[in-house]
Amino acid sequence: MSKLQVSAEVPNEIHMTRVFDAPRRLVIKAMSTPELIKRWQGGVRTTVVVAEVDLRVGGRYRTVYRLPDGTEFYFSGVYQEVSDDRVVHTEAFNDQPGEALVITTYAERDGKTTMSVVMRFPSQEIRDQVLATGMADGAGESYDELDKLLASL
């Protein structure tokens, strides 16, 4: 059983659940401190080159990723709710329209934290695009042939 659970049962949403062996305070710290974000959020193929976080209601964040070929892309948004166990923010890809609402809750128990993320998109079409492209960039291998193939079906 993999550690990260992902569900796409709601047509315009992606749900993720993951348990971390650390108290909530540290999980939130690692997810909202620029120097720490740079250390984990890149994945295998991408490097985080800019991480800006202003974690308060109305504050903005921006994360710029760089691919091995030098191409850069970014996610950015505004925090709408910030509390010890719940953070809600918008999320746009390269400032394109069709931004998502991301609701993250943190439940701590016995020193472990269960993080639940709901990404809510304006439509199923945009949700499927996100599943199929942008955020899978860290997947490590080039699936160009597969992408072409899928585009032809």
């Binding site: 993999s2 550690k3 990260l4 992902v6 569900s7 796409a8 992606i14 993720m16 993951r18 971390f20 062996d21 650390a22 540290l26 999980v27 710290k29 690692a30 997810m31 720490l36 250390r39 984990w40 959020q41 890149g42 994945g43 295998v44 499927d128 996100v130 599943l131 199929a132 955020m135 899978a136 960039d137 860290g138 997947a139 490590g140 291998e141 080039s142 699936y143 042939e145 597969l146 072409k148 193939l149 899928l150 032809s152 079906l153």
Partner: protein
Amino acid sequence: MRAAHLDATFAALADPTRRAILARLAQGEATVMELVEPFALSQPAISKHLKVLEKAGLISRGRDGARRPCRLEPAPLRAIDVWIERFRASWEERFAALDDVLEELKQNERQPKRRGKP
């Protein structure tokens, strides 16, 4: 059952030659010999890849005598499960790195003034 099937699909797709074979078959069916030529691989090597693809349900083999043309079976590829799994794998890579960062933060809290080695 479903998870096992998905594993087979992903194992089959993990190889660039097999993805290229599928891309070729998306343009129309082909025999083993027709696939040998563009890929510059031996017939046994191509046949081995085709077996993996067939087992994963990604292609079917015709019954046209010795020709047995290969045909793309797009259903497993259309399944959104494929996308979900890629998405999941990409985030799990990141969260595994986050695990390491968290471990270090915990260590630092336990030994706040001993970050440097003696």
